[in-house]
Each structure stands twice: as C-alpha cells, then as structure tokens.
C-alpha cells in the first residue's frame, strides 16, 4: 500500500513496526480510499489533503500526529460527513459518507459547551439534534457523567466548571447518542500539562469501557504513543501519510509506560519525521 512505500523511504521498519495490512472485505471501522480534499478559495485552489488510503479497525484507538495546517481537521470533517471529499470515498461501517451520518461523536480543542444549557443539557444536545426520545437517553447521559466523574454537576452551568471538567462534559456529549466512532481534534490541547495527563489516562479508560473506535488528532507525540493502538504521521500541507506505526505497548497502560524503552524509542522515531520536515509547531 501507499503508506508502506513512504515508510521505507523515511525510516527503516523495525521489528515491532507492522506495515498497514490489507483488510479487503472488512466493512466495520473507517475506510478511506483515495480521499483527497482541495479547498476552492478566491485565490485559487488550496490542496489540503493528498489522496489518503487507510483503514481504522472497529474499536481501535487511532491517533494522527502532524504539523499545523496539515489537514488534520479536514480529515475529521470528511469522516463526520461535514465536508465532501474532492476525490475518493470515505466508508464508515461499510456505508459511503455523503452527508452528516450522526454515527460520530466529536470533541474539539475547546469544550464548546453551550453557555445557556446546564451540563446535562449540553450532554443531551446530540439527542435533541437527532430527535431521539429524550427520556430514554437521560439515564444514559447521567451514567456517562458518572463515568467521567461529573456526578453532582448536572445542573451546573459550563462557566462554573474548570477547563478539564468542561472537556469531560464534552466527551460525554460525544458519547451520549452511542455512536460507533469518536473523533477528537486536539481534545486536551487547551488544558494544562497535569490535567492533560490525567485526562489521557481517563480517556483510555473510557475507551476501554465503551469499546468505541477513536480517531484522535494531536500535536503531542508522547500523547499519541501513550494513547494509540496505531499512530499515523502526516506530512506538511498538503497532508499525506508519512508513516503508520503500531504501538507495541500492552494494555492497560499507566503513565509509567512513558519510561518504557519501547515507548521512548517510538517517540524518538516519530519525532524524526518532523526534524527532517521542519517543526511540529
């Protein structure tokens, strides 16, 4: 596959580095085939993503790292159906994506909670948008808030919560309608380093408990390696796949794993992509 050839150009595949295997016939998860995106602007066409081919397994924790403006966020919009690709097609659970399909939960860098709704009301937003029966999902919303440790905060307004708590609430919002996929665009980028590590551990626990497919975009290489089953490294704009790495670390992981030689080696290896290309910003 395309990714494999690029990998061999840049780094020597190590023993633990499995190249992307072909999963023809597997309809679960997310499949991108030949997906590219070019934005039409007044100053002409701006290519954002070069044709991408990759597959994310059902229940996989898939992390994308790349420099600023490499089209990571575009990737997220393509998968959620907010943007049509310029070429190629996106398959989610075997269905071609042509419009918002609602089978995703999205978490952005900012919690983006509606200030006029209380925490529970914010978590229920997808239910209102999808016109699902409210009563039925209220219990689910409450148990999700328990899962992230926000019990007792249901009636609070967003500004009464700390940044980390707000982001937890937005994770609940992304899960309340029970989508297969969670798309996270630098979800902890706005948090302080300590909160961020805690949130990473917690996110891993949430993913283990809910078995969701997660596509997470980040700037932090250690965060990527810590969280991921596989890490996709993107090139500078227009974005393309530089490499896809398997993370050989066993689960469940604790923060101690960051001292593991396999962890540091992989972090180093991924970092090299950006030293050869320029900075990560």
């Amino acid at each position: 596959m395309k990714a494999a050839s690029i990998v061999s150009e840049t780094v020597q595949p190590a023993a633990h580095l499995r190249l992307v295997s072909d999963r023809a016939g597997d309809t679960s998860g997310i499949t991108l085939s030949g997906v590219s995106k070019t934005y039409r602007t007044r100053d002409g066409d701006v290519p954002s993503l070069r044709p991408l081919d990759f597959h994310i397994d059902d229940g996989e924790f898939f992390v994308v790292v790349g420099p600023s403006g490499c089209g990571k966020s575009t990737l997220l919009k393509l998968i959620s159906g907010l943007l049509p690709p310029t070429s190629g097609e996106v398959l989610v659970e075997g269905e071609k994506v042509t419009a918002p399909h609602g089978n995703v939960g999205i978490v952005f860098q900012n919690a983006l909670l509606l200030p006029w709704r209380n925490v529970l009301g914010n978590v229920m937003l997808p239910i209102d948008m999808k016109r699902l029966p409210r009563q039925q999902y209220l219990d689910r919303a409450r148990s999700l808030l328990n899962l992230v440790g926000l019990e007792g905060f249901e009636k609070k307004l967003p500004w009464q919560l700390s940044g980390g708590m707000q982001q937890r609430a937005s994770i609940c919002r992304a899960l309340v309608h029970d989508p297969r996929i969670m798309l996270m665009d630098e979800p902890f980028g706005a948090l302080d380093a300590l909160t961020r590590e805690r949130m990473n551990v917690e996110l891993m626990r949430i993913q283990r408990e809910t078995r969701k497919t997660v596509l997470l975009i980040t700037h932090s290489i250690p965060e990527a390696v810590f969280l991921a089953d596989r890490v996709l490294v993107m090139t500078e704009r227009p974005g393309a796949i530089a490499a896809i790495y398997d993370v050989p670390l066993p689960r469940p992981r604790s923060l101690d794993v960051m001292a593991d030689p396999a962890f540091t080696e992989l972090v180093q290896r991924i970092r090299k992509h950006f030293f050869s290309q320029g900075s990560l910003d």
Binding site: S80, G102, L112, L114, W116, L125, P126, D128, M129, W159
Partner: protein
C-alpha cells in the same frame, strides 16, 4: 437599609443601583439651580428647577395625556424595528449574497438624516400616528440590525459543525445554537434601539402632529414657555428610562446565563 443582614452583597447592589444615580441627579439639579442664581440666567433662557416642577404639578394631567401618543408611537416603532431588524440580520448573516446586496445600502440609508425626511412621511401618511411610528422605526431599526448581525456572525463555526454532525437540520441548529448565541448582542441592539425610538417618535411629532410630547415641546418653545418645555423634556427622559428598563428586565429573563447577568445566577442557586 437596616435589615437583619445588612452586609449581604445583594442589598449593597440594590443600594448602588438606585441611590447613586438619584444622588447624582440631586447634585445636577442643585448645580442647575445654583448656576441660574449665580450667573443670573433669565427665565426665558433656562427656567429654574422649581418652575419646571411647578409646571409638572399644575399641568400633570395634560402632560400625562400627551405622553400616551408618544409612548404608542415609540413602542410600535420599536416593536417593528425588532420584528424586521432581527430577520433582516439573520438573512445578512446567513447569506453572503444578501449581505453584499443589502448591507451597504442599509448603511447608506443611515446617512440620510431622518429628521430631514420626516416631513415626507407627513405628506405620505397624514397627521395620524403612522408617520411617528415610521420615524421611530427608522431610527430604531439600524442598531438592531448591526448588533444582531454581529451576534449571528460571532457563533463558533466548530459549534455549528458539531450540531450539524449530529444530523441537526439547519433550522434545529439555528434554534439550538445560533439564535441563543446571538441574543446578548441582539439585546444590546434593542436597548440602543428603544432609546432611539423615543427620539424618532418625537421627531415625528415635531414635523406634523397635534398631540404628543414632541408637539408640546414644539408649542411651548414657540411661546417661550420654557418651564413647560423642560417639563416635557423630563417626561421624555422618564419615558426613555422606563422603556429601557423594561427591555433590560426582559433581557435578564431571557438570557440569565450570560456573563453580564451572572451575579443573579449565583444568588439564585
């Protein structure tokens, strides 16, 4: 206030909200009275506060009667500017095409002095309440549009994307995200608008009317009856303050969650 808990922040705020402007008003009136005595300003230039109060007391029923047409015209003009201004702002914010056609013209129309064209309304619509309403509407309309456009446009596109990705229809997303987000800006526009609508109504009364506070002012200035004129001014200011206060109350009810209203939320919870 000698309440059991005089230190509570709420009673302090109430104190500040009512007492300070009142004290300042007293100060102004005293300064007004003093300067008239001190500089010997004749009554046909500036009347003494006592004379104004005297007129207010003696002519109160008549003045109050003249308040109603002005209030009517102001309220209708204001309601129309809200009723048209907000949808127009929605269209301008929602469509680049509409914006490019309408917005520059709207701004252009604002540079036309309404006072100069007010007589036209009399020619078109006669001496009834209609020209006054239109004049109030024209003055109140623009601030509503400008603020509402800004409010609708300042919605975080990620927030809209989030709601759209959940398969919300355009209308649903608008009601759940865009409209509530724009409300604080809309209300600040409405507050400017309601005070301008008072001015608009009075301008309408200046040019062609035989009732209303504007008419009273026009008549009294013609006869150098300055105390009456000032009494009319006081009533006009009161009208503006009351209408502003009503809009402010409604705002507190509608957007209790907004930063500007947060103190109330804390006390409520």
């Amino acid at each position: 206030m000698a309440e059991p808990k005089p230190q509570s922040a709420a009673s302090k705020m109430l104190n500040a909200a009512w007492v300070r402007p009142f004290l300042f008003l007293v100060f102004i009136v005293v300064a007004w009275d003093l300067s008239i005595r001190l500089f010997r300003i004749p009554a046909y230039q500036i009347p003494a506060p006592a004379d104004v109060v005297a007129v207010l007391r003696s002519d109160w029923p008549e003045l109050l009667r003249q308040c109603w047409p002005t209030t009517y015209a102001t309220v209708w003009g204001f309601l129309f500017s809200a009723l048209f201004g907000i949808p127009v702002a929605m269209l301008i914010a929602g469509s680049k095409t509409v914006e490019s056609y309408v917005y520059p013209l709207l701004v252009f129309s604002q540079s036309v002095p309404k006072i100069a064209i007010a007589p036209l309304f009399v020619v078109w619509f006669g001496f009834g309440i209609l020209p006054k309403v239109i004049s109030a509407f024209l003055l109140g309309f623009f601030p509503v549009v400008v603020s509402a456009v800004q409010g609708f446009k300042s919605v975080d596109p990620d927030m809209v994307d989030l709601a759209r990705a959940m398969q919300g229809s355009r209308f649903q997303v608008f009601c759940a995200v865009n409209l509530p987000h724009a409300l604080p800006a809309i209300f600040s526009g409405l507050k400017v608008s309601v005070t301008l609508a008072v001015v608009g109504a009075v301008v309408g009364e200046f040019v062609g009317s035989n009732s209303g506070i504007g008419y009273v002012m026009q008549r009294s200035i013609g006869t150098f009856d300055l105390p009456t004129m000032f009494a009319a001014l006081v009533l006009l200011a009161l009208l503006g303050v009351i209408l502003f206060w009503i809009v402010d109350r409604i705002e507190k009810l509608v957007i209790p969650w907004h930063v500007s209203q947060r103190e109330d939320v804390i006390f409520a919870s």
